[in-house]
Amino acid sequence: MAREEAVVPKAEFRSYYGRPVIKAPIWHEPHMPLYLFLGGVSGASSMLGAGARLSGRHRLALSAEVTAALSAAAGAGLLVAELGRPERFLNMLRVFKLTSPMSVGSWILAAHSGMTGLAAGSAVTGLLPRLGTAAFAGGGVTGPLMATYTAVLVADTAVPAWHEGHRELPFLFAGSALASAGAAVMLATPPGEAGPARRAALIGATLETAAGHLMEHRLGMLAEPYREGPAGRTMRAARLLTVTGGALAALAEAAAVPSPRPRRPARARFSPLRPAPRAARPPSVPAVLRGMPAVLRELPAVLRGMPAQAVLGGVSALALAAGAVCTRFAVLRAGRASAEDPKYTVVPQRERVSARESPDPTPGPVPR
């Protein structure tokens, strides 16, 4: 990172008493970043649920669906709480506007939370199975939209660090959503059945990290808000947690005994009253450790005797989830920082004007 900073020229610009040109997002912490997080969790979870359902992993599907439904509901709650006039939340469905990611998102959220709710409800209670199935499928479709529209939501603003990050932010959010949903489902699912969740988490963590790096690399001066101040600290924490979580997920996955291919029941029916078949007993921690690099052999003795997957998976999941939460906080804070310093608004725009108006590289237009 230090290397990249060096290539950013020191910004010289004029401003009005150093006041921001644009308004910083007014969205609050923790409401907004948690909503972004939960939306991601819910979206990706419903995809995992759909995948699990399609692949006959009922236990996994149950966890995923319940996670999706709960996080959608919690997210919607946070969204309503964030409104200046919460009693008017239904006005979100007053119009449908493709130009408004929030309008689109509201409709997605409405559909998504409805479907995940139905699906989870049906799954839990066993009622209305057909509707539940349809809702499952629907949730699988709305899920990815749910997880990525929020990137457009933030990018479709005048906030420099967001708007200019509009290429990578969807991937950052998608990765983060996968990682966190995988993590959540991992936590809610017996390790033996959580394989896809772990893998999803791993891929997500990788995507999140890669997208974040790419974005910062491309943004040039506008990467500063992601690197400096509270946003920078949060972003670094997010990285660390995600990388750690991803690594642990990889470990857990490495330690996993392939679960027997679940048999698809004649009629897909899923109920907690009839638990999914238990997976084969996983290997013990010492067994895993034997194949691990030396450093990991130093794991505390308390872990001995516990199922390695459970411990690794649990820690990994927590790290990934925390990482995803941090990512969203970091993004919000970076956006705010970039809005509050007029440099990030003025300098890129001034460069644009200069490039357009004259080949002369010095900033500032020639007065007419």
């Binding site: 009005y16 006041r19 408004s100 990525t148 708007h163 998608a174």
Partner: protein, 252 residues
Amino acid sequence: MAERMGFFTDTSVCIGCKACEVACKEWNDVPDDGFLFRATSYDNTGGLGADTWRHVAFVEQFTRQGDSWLMASDVCKHCTHAACLDVCPTGALFRTEFDTVVVQPDVCNGCGYCVPACPYGVIDRRRDDGRAWKCTMCYDRLRGGLEPACAKACPTDSIQFGPLEELRARAGERLDTLHGAGVAEARLYGESPADGVGGDGAFFLLLDEPEVYGLPPDPVVTTRDLPRMWAFAGTAALSMAAAVALSFARRA
């Protein structure tokens, strides 16, 4: 739709009296914006916001080249391509028959999306009220055939109201006059339909670079890039689907 109406704010004749700020508040019942001594020349309201819909900037420039005290009354630009309007999820913001952009306070639910969307930092959410507010170009007055309160009050006609095309012509003439008088630094801001917001319904004649007045030098409506954003998001969504599929793929 009626003719497009607009503001032409000629800051070269602004005397910084702030009548526009007060007249606006009196007509629109805008609350006070706090009582803070900012020590920024004679500007103590800081900038446009939910409780300040006209704002007069004061810039003291005392250099060897000469002395000047720039004053400029800022206002919502009523963009041709208005980000606030584009992103509003409730339809609280709408485009009027005068081609102005107005918030309907009976609809706004205070989602706050318009706030960071505006490339000029105009619209803001009122803290205790929870809704977003900004200049309406006195929509109610316009519907009654009256001119907006600020333009009516302006003692030196720095704020001119009228059909946008007329104002653009007038502004061009004024610019020529000033250039002819040797005021080389005079320039129009926001008058060009070719700019990043498709031209402003409220445009300005400035005597220095826009950022000196707190205005963005090259504003672009964020939704101009929205199709691309959706495309990226779609790709990301597909990637997600692929990733999930991959996760469920049987291990080799």
